[in-house]
Amino acid sequence: MISFSLNDTAKAFLLSIAMLIAVLGAWELATPAAKSAGELSEYEMLTGGGGQQASVPAPSQVITKAIDELSNPFYDNGPNDKGIGIQLAYSLYRVLTGYFLAALIAIPVGFLIGMSPIMYKALDPFIQVLRPISPLAWMPLALFIIKDSQASAIFVIFICSIWPMLINTAFGVANVRKDWVNVAKTHELSHLKTAFLVILPAAAPTILTGMRISIGIAWLVIVAAEMLVGGTGIGYYVWNEWNNLDLTSVIFSILMIGIVGMVLDTIFAFIQRAVQFQE
């Protein structure tokens, strides 16, 4: 069995590599090669070797850029030129701050809603109305009230990551098997002990699913939020490089957004596995 699955994994891995090579190869071939210096027209020399039309860079150029950026990720040459590491760190700081503030509220409130059917019914209409609002729609209001673009970005992350955690926590808590609650009852556990010793571990996999969805959404939203707010962060970086017409950097940063998102998701998947139990 194990040798089989290993075999399959190896096959899938090889296939992934082959697809990557094929796509990058096609992309590379489709990109017109930069002309060598000797063939430059007068106009091209005046514009520093640039073509009349900017073109999508070849993967080789992106890779060169990546190596260049990643070899010195934390340089800081003023507000318009910071290393990719610094930009990502700003984004991560905002995401994690907003996210953990949201968790701090969503999990206890979700617990309350899950435990009490009345609270569930009472809060449900508010949740249903607030949940579908695009987090960016809050931005003007946040900017006006908070009067700080940094904090507003954090608020936007807060508001977008609260719902999946809240709803999943409430759902997980409300659906804890009655048998387990009965075990707590027959053992004369206090409400607090029941919550921590029985309901929390029983609902943990569902709560973690909500937390994993939330971190994914938060990472999606931060890019857009930082494009609006500006100043620092990976979202600002993408937009800034677009304004610089540096498409190599744009593609490189898109790739970095994907990689960081994947790492965040992997971390939560790992925690999720740790609290998972088999019935």
Binding site: K185, P201, A204
Partner: protein
């Protein structure tokens, strides 16, 4: 009549009808007692309210009317004095077998040190034969029989005054069931534990219990008979079937379940009476006496 350890009086459970109309009366005016140290089984068809009676005894459900007094105190909610083993084991799946038992012990003795809790739990796991690494496995990694052993260990480890077993062997295969029944008898005989158990298995009831309560079919079910199992202990699975009383009891039970539980169903004439005591395995002399006193009564119920 002296008071029993557990007195069930006038116990009634009605469920409100879905759309107005008559409420559904599962059982009505059930009266019976359980003595200290007694092993009592209750048998009846599905829907007669056995599980509801057990849940009320456990304090997880409320009766519509009537009540239960245990050791002079009214049963009003769940308590560690009444341990429960559910059919589906109800172990906490995120804890190992040992931790599940420790969970119960810690709830019972919050003042104990970790090592005391550990040793006490280990002792009861050894009693049910769960050692050698198996105690560190999660319930999902244990067989059904092993899981039920853990449940039994947890229930015995909190040393309740009354142990409630809700069809504890219902989900097990016949061979495993036999082994665990033997283990249960062995642990029970050394403990003077009062046990109230639901079962569907007539042979299991005879093997384990001192007395078997028979319920008529619902609605308006009631505890109609209390069958005394006059077979000396210790009982052995292989030996018991050679006891002359065994088949008398067995036939009586099967006859009740197959025929009279239906005939008596819905009959409210004897509502509120304590169950008729029947001793099918008593010596012939006593047998005649029994027949003269209780047989006419039974016939009148059946008609």
């Amino acid at each position: 009549m002296s008071k029993s350890f557990i007195e069930v009086t006038g116990l009634t459970k009605r469920f409100p009808a879905p759309k107005g109309g008559e409420p559904l009366t599962v059982f009505e005016n059930a009266n019976f007692g359980i003595e200290k140290g007694e092993f009592v089984c209750i048998i009846g068809h599905s829907g007669c309210g056995k599980s509801t009676i057990m849940n009320i005894l456990a304090g997880l459900d409320q009766p519509t009317e009537g009540g239960i007094v245990m050791g002079g105190k009214e049963v009003s909610g769940p308590s560690l004095d009444r341990g429960v083993v559910f059919q589906n084991y109800s172990l906490l799946p995120w804890l190992s077998a040992l931790k599940n038992v420790m969970f119960g012990v810690r709830a019972r003795h919050p003042e104990w040190s970790r090592s005391q809790v550990y040793e006490h739990s280990q002792k009861y796991l050894e009693m049910v034969g769960l050692t050698g690494g198996a105690e560190h496995r999660k319930p999902a990694q244990l067989s059904g029989g092993m899981r039920q052993r853990v449940s039994i260990a947890r229930a015995f480890a909190i040393q309740p005054q009354l142990l409630l077993l809700d069809e504890p062997f219902g989900a097990l295969d016949a061979l495993t069931r036999g082994t665990i029944q033997d283990e249960l008898t062995r642990i029970w005989s050394g403990s003077e534990q009062t046990v109230f158990m639901i079962t569907h298995d007539v042979d299991e009831a005879i093997l384990l219990s001192d007395r078997i309560l028979l319920m008529t079919n619902g609605p308006y079910a009631r505890v109609a008979e209390s069958v005394v199992v006059d077979i000396p202990r210790p009982r052995d699975r292989a030996e018991i079937i050679h006891n002359p009383g065994y088949y008398k009891i067995r036939n009586h039970l099967v006859e009740f379940l197959a025929r009279r539980s239906k005939e008596l169903a819905g009959n409210r004439e004897h509502s509120g009476e304590p169950p008729v005591t029947v001793r099918p395995a008593k010596d012939d002399a006593d047998d005649k006496e029994r027949q003269s006193t209780s047989r006419p009564k039974l016939v009148s119920i059946a008609s």
